[in-house]
């Protein structure tokens, strides 16, 4: 559902709401380039796959440089250069939540940076992770893709919201 002609609340404007349910790979394309940064919120994300990945502009190249800290997740994500681990929790049994900030996403020449904070949704889950990701040579970020990284299974629940920040 796209929302148009909605006034900003503070400096954030909700640009899109996308359901993950029933798809294994979800791309949000043609991201509005008129903001200083975007915030990407993922809520109630569930899949039989515990590892949820993200790519920008559809790139599978080794452009993803990162710092990753986490508890209750495996350490393999720290080494990957072809994707960002958005959630590396137990989302098959406990839905995950993440909040991402991507500053300067519309700039064409600079290195892009995304800060991601993720956690389990309920008290039954104890997973948490933080990662800071630099993307090199990607140009402006015009699309983001979220996908089940290990199983290619469809998401069973989840919503992605993108906010523009002036």
């Amino acid at each position: 559902m796209a929302l148009t002609q909605i006034p900003s609340i503070g400096s954030m404007t909700l640009l899109s709401v996308t359901s993950l349910t029933g798809a294994a790979s979800v791309t949000i394309s043609n991201i509005d380039q008129s903001y200083n940064e975007i915030q990407i919120w993922g809520d109630n994300i569930s899949s039989v796959d515990n590892n949820i990945g993200m790519r920008v502009n559809g790139s599978t190249s080794s452009i993803y440089k990162k710092l990753l800290l986490g508890i209750d997740n495996t350490s393999t994500g720290a080494l990957e250069t072809s994707l960002v681990r958005v959630l590396q929790l137990q989302v098959s049994t406990d839905p995950g939540i993440f909040r991402m900030t991507c500053k300067g996403y519309a700039e064409t020449a600079s290195i892009k940076n995304i800060i991601n904070n993720a956690s389990s949704k309920t008290n039954t889950g104890t997973g948490a992770m933080y990662n800071q990701n630099n993307f090199i040579n990607v140009g402006a970020i015009t699309s983001v893709t979220f996908f089940t990284a290990d199983t290619s299974a469809n998401f069973t629940a989840g919503t992605i919201k993108i906010y523009g920040v002036k």
Binding site: M1, A2, L15, S16, T18, S19, L20, G22, A23, A24, S25, V26, T27, I28, S29, N30, I31, D32, T60, T74, S75, T76, L79, E80, S82, L83, T148, A149, D150, S152, A153, N154, I162
Partner: protein, 69 residues
């Protein structure tokens, strides 16, 4: 068995397209996963080798954990 679904949400037009992954896309996806698994296995092997060296040095498990944590 049907292939995984791919969804593309065009923010500009609000059009949402759902379709099955093609055989080519699925093969690419599987190849990427295999590459990631390979990297993880290599890292696990490196860690095992490191642990073996520590063990040869006569370190206790607690001392090894202190070194690698």
């Amino acid at each position: 068995m049907t292939n995984p679904m791919i969804r593309i949400h065009n923010m500009e037009t609000d059009e949402v397209i759902d379709r099955e992954a093609t055989a080519e896309e699925l093969a690419e996806w599987e190849a990427e996963k295999a590459a990631q698994a390979q990297k993880a296995a290599e890292e696990a092997a490196r860690l095992s080798a490191k642990l073996a060296i520590y063990a040869k040095l006569g370190l206790t498990e607690e001392e090894i954990n202190t070194l690698i944590s």
